[in-house]
């Protein structure tokens, strides 16, 4: 039951993140939206790990390993994006993605 709940939460986070990434104009908000989106996907990994518990395991370790790797990657991505954004803001005084 709780697995389903987590799954629904994950799906909702994916939706919110995607919406934010596409609609929010400010790059910082996009970066945050990306993290929400990522969070949703990681939650799904958690759900699948939990499923392993059904096989009388304490939890499938593989998705957990994937999740941790994924977190590291997404952390690195966020760091790179923020660094670029800061540099852009420092160079131009404003930070926008579209020219108009």
């Amino acid at each position: 039951m709780s697995a389903d709940l987590y799954g629904l939460c994950g799906a909702a986070l994916v939706g919110i993140g995607l919406y934010g990434l596409i609609v929010q104009p400010h790059p910082l908000r996009k970066i945050l939206a990306f993290n929400i989106l990522g969070g949703g996907v990681f939650l799904l990994f958690g759900v699948f790990a939990r499923r392993g518990a059904a096989l009388s395991l304490p939890g499938d370790p593989v998705p957990q390993a994937l999740l941790i790797t994924g977190l590291v990657v997404s952390f690195a991505a966020t760091a790179l994006a923020v660094a670029l954004l800061l540099r852009l803001a420092a160079e131009t005084g404003r930070a926008r993605l579209d020219d108009e």
């Binding site: 790059p27 699948f48 994937l66 990657v73 991505a77 994006a81 954004l85 852009l88 160079e91």
Partner: protein, 494 residues
């Protein structure tokens, strides 16, 4: 033919192709400065040797090379696998990287140490590793990591010079690529959730048309399309490829986008070989056709040379996607389908060489002329005769003039499309070819024109690098027998 997942002779080579750049990167980062350049040269040279050795091993054994990391079998362990297309792409990558390194020696070795120099050489080493990881990965999650590595290498390459325009281009690129990554990762999660495996070979046996698999592969493909910049998802490509330093543009256009396309091929032909027979393949083909027409038309309209080349990349990527609806089909089409497979891969390889040559040539032209406006390139032909020749040969390969590799690629795709009754792709390819003729001739006419004031004659060294790359593209058309047989090794049929 079902493959067994176990170590094959020569499999260890695959590990070296990943470990060498990883070690090199650390070494270069620690050593810093000019030493980084030397390390990069060493890594690039070793990678060239390794990739040729891998290609030979694949060729000799006639089957894919496999290495199981730590001896663990999938689903728990991770497999590395090199088939014909991996080997061919690795060789192409290694050659292009070697050429770019030779070319960039002048640009990125200032007497006073600059951060951009160190960054460039480190990124070049990392790129070599990330590309190989994409070509060798047989595990979907491993491939995700490889993809991300590639993005993290490509984004800083775009903004090496730190100008606001390139920073903005890099940020756009990064954010859009990240959406793609998440979509890909979502697909990976779905696959694991449904089949408790991520190894491509294992999954192929387990998938029997469940909706989850289709949803997952659709998400992953869409994510990869965003990273490949297939029309209409090309928002980041033109500024990113056009404003980066020439050496960076060359690897971005010639290599990085190909890696993403390579993964799409893996999904559509190795993971779920029946996909390409369905209507989804036609959608990809249609987007490819749109890319050809749109990219070529916009390339014709550009005033700046590097933007023209970038839009031409957009168009040439379209040809790759035509391979997907063509390289499949009923049994009586198998002959043509194999042709389309070879043609598509030839296009990827020939375009890699040709586009790298063109971007490097454009860099030299910009150095001599001080700008890259096409209308102001008069006299370049005289100042840079060898580079102009290289640009012309590369351009003619794009345009599909025999006997270049580009011609053979287009010929195979064209015959496959006519023979399989999908003639509409042929019409698009021919229109694209005519427009390519337009934009290549436009550049050449300007470079051949007399300049009012003669430009200084530039040194030849780097021009020969350009020519050598263009000749590689040509050689593919002259000696296609070996490569085309190699490309069929380890190919999974429906």
């Amino acid at each position: 033919m079902t493959e067994l997942l176990s170590n094959t002779p020569g499999g260890t080579l695959l590990v070296f192709a990943l470990v060498v750049p990883a070690a090199g990167l650390m070494l270069a980062f620690l050593a810093g400065g000019r030493a980084a350049m030397r390390v990069a040269f060493a890594v690039v040279a070793v990678q060239l040797g390794l990739s040729i050795a891998i290609a030979r091993a694949v060729w000799d054994s006639g089957a894919a090379l496999i290495y199981l990391a730590g001896g663990w079998r999938p689903p728990l362990g991770i497999a590395l696998r090199a088939d014909g297309i991996s080997a061919a792409m690795m060789v192409m990558t290694a050659i292009v990287l070697a050429a770019v390194a030779l070319y960039a020696r002048t640009n990125f070795s200032a007497a006073t140490e600059r951060r951009a120099d160190l960054t460039f050489w480190c990124l070049l080493i990392a790129l070599s590793g990330a590309m190989n990881a994409v070509f060798l990965g047989n595990d979907l999650f491993n491939l995700y990591v490889a993809l991300e590595l590639l993005t993290f290498v490509a984004v800083p390459l775009v903004c090496l010079d730190g100008k606001p325009a390139t920073l903005q281009a890099a940020l756009r690129y990064l954010l859009f690529a990240l959406i793609g990554s998440v979509l890909y990762l979502l697909g990976v999660a779905l696959f694991y959730g449904a089949y408790a495996a991520l190894d491509i070979t294992l999954l192929r046996g387990r998938i029997h048309g469940e909706p989850a698999a289709y949803l997952a592969v659709a998400l992953m493909t869409a994510g990869l399309l965003a990273k490949t910049a297939l029309f209409p998802l090309h928002l980041w490509l033109p500024p990113a490829h056009a404003d980066a330093p020439p050496a960076a543009s060359a690897v971005l256009s010639a290599l990085v986008v190909k890696a993403k396309f390579f993964l799409i091929l893996r999904l559509w032909f190795a993971l779920m070989p029946t996909l390409a027979e369905g209507p989804g393949a036609d959608l990809l083909g249609a987007l490819g056709a749109g890319a050809i027409l749109f990219g070529s038309a916009l390339a014709l309209r550009q005033a700046r040379l590097k933007l023209l080349i970038a839009y031409s990349t957009l168009a040439q990527l379209g040809y790759l996607f035509l391979m997907i609806p063509l390289a499949t089909g009923p049994v009586n089409w198998l002959f043509w389908s194999a042709g389309a497979w070879t043609g598509g891969m030839f296009q990827a390889i020939a375009h890699g060489f040709a586009k790298a040559a063109m971007f490097l040539a454009a860099g030299l032209m910009a150095e001599v002329a001080g700008h890259d406006r096409i209308a102001g390139l008069a006299g370049i032909g005289r100042a840079l005769p060898v580079a102009t020749l290289g640009f012309a040969l590369g351009g003619l390969s794009l345009l599909g003039v025999p006997p270049s590799g580009g011609f053979l690629a287009k010929w195979l795709l064209l015959t496959a499309s006519i023979a399989e009754g999908q003639w509409w792709w042929a019409v698009v390819m021919l229109i694209g070819g005519a427009m390519a003729g337009g934009y290549i001739f436009r550049v050449l006419a300007n470079t051949l024109a007399d300049s009012p004031a003669p430009l200084p004659v530039a040194p030849r060294g780097r021009q020969y690098v350009v020519l050598a790359l263009a000749l590689c593209s040509l050689a593919l058309g002259l000696l296609p027998a070996g490569p085309s047989a190699l490309l069929q090794i380890g190919r999974v049929g429906p």
